[in-house]
Point group: C2
Chain length 206, copies 2
DNA sequence: AGATCAAACTGGACAATGTCAACATCGCGC
DNA sequence: GCGCGATGTTGACATTGTCCAGTTTGATCT
């Protein structure tokens, strides 16, 4: 890519990309702004001109992550017509995002390394959440259920997010129980099924 | 507590305590080993003699967190006889732990700042998980359900963990929708109800 | 076209951090 | 008593994030 010019051309993107690589390889704990700059081939102060400080860069990365999530969710929904199946595919997409873009996902839900008041971040998050909410609403209306849409969406989101966070622990538990861990896709399917059963039977309680 | 002696007496605990304070106040992103040592009133290299490096200290904190979780879960279970109610109370305890000991919880599930192979950490984690698994098993047996116990436990754990992680985002979503956020306890109850419905109706599928 | 000027980037400085090595002090067992 | 390991300290070093003053670049205006 157009080597050693003084002006990089698209440094912000290059920096985000490098940052994601660093986080993926070394973890957020060992994250270093200078290392990012080094990988992008610029001086150690160049990032400041685009993102202010390290928090700015990570916030920008989080925004990109929510955009990815929005795109993946939308695509998943578009590919299915049955509302329940839509929800399941969205769940798979959610977890796929987490494994395909681990760095973004680590940042997206870490309020301490990000500026939670950033307007772009808020907006990107809301857009992504909107897809989930709409899908849940479609399901509830199509099947005539009597659940609060927001509560049901909360369940879906929390479960998938929990699955993402707990994956390593779950694998460990399986290992120590002498069982081999199923692929993540299977976990998603199993949990989605249970969740759906819960959402569907929420109205007929004792 | 017994001021300025050369030997502190119980420095490991003091360091863990200070570390938890630092994380709670400044977040894991701004965590500093030297600041911890400063608060404990010892030199900046004292922690190394007990924990090796910063990762060792945080790992120790994670172990303590899982012990707290085990204690709280056990207490919650002991106070209830109905299996379903046990599960609900455990959920509340789980989230309460997260709000009462935020620093511990941040560390417990961050594989990058902790040594995941630490035997003490593994064992503490398994002990805590055992309480959940037992409770779910009791429920399944008492009500004669046909769910895989591990899958059901996975759902419970993932949902509660997701709730903990997403709390800030959920509050934000509520705010931007013009609704006021319910207390966390209410969230826990709502989700537990839905989960329970799912677990109970898992067998009768189309 | 040539001058101008803000945006993009560099390099050096500074305080703060994690870890290492060498040294000091306590207290327990012989 | 007295040694010796566990516990703490001081000093050093490379690395980090951010500030500041300068350089280079390319677009805009006349």
């Amino acid at each position: 890519m157009t080597p050693d010019r003084y002006h990089h051309g698209d440094l912000p993107n290059a920096l985000r990309h490098a940052a994601a690589d660093v986080i993926t390889e070394d973890g957020l704990g060992r994250f270093s702004l200078r290392e990012v700059a080094r990988r992008a081939g610029v001086s150690h102060t160049a990032p400041a001109h685009h993102f202010g400080d390290v928090r700015g860069l990570l916030t920008s990365l989080a925004v990109e992550g929510f955009d990815h999530l929005y795109d993946a969710s939308s695509a998943a929904v578009a590919g299915e017509s049955d509302p329940a199946e839509r929800l399941a595919t969205m769940g798979e997409a959610y977890v796929a995002i987490a494994t395909d873009h681990p760095a973004h996902c680590q940042v997206m839900f870490r309020t301490d390394v990000v500026d939670p008041d950033d307007p772009a971040l808020r907006e990107a998050g809301m857009r992504a959440h909107g897809v989930l909410r709409d899908t849940v609403r479609d399901l509830v209306e199509a099947e005539g259920l009597h659940v609060d849409i927001d509560v049901a969406a909360e369940l879906c989101w929390a479960t998938m997010q929990g699955l993402v966070v707990l994956e390593p622990k779950l694998a460990l538990v399986d290992a120590l129980h002498g069982m081999e861990s199923p692929p993540t896709r299977v976990r998603v399917r199993r949990l989605t099924r249970l969740m759906l059963d819960g959402i569907r039977h929420a109205d007929d309680r004792p």
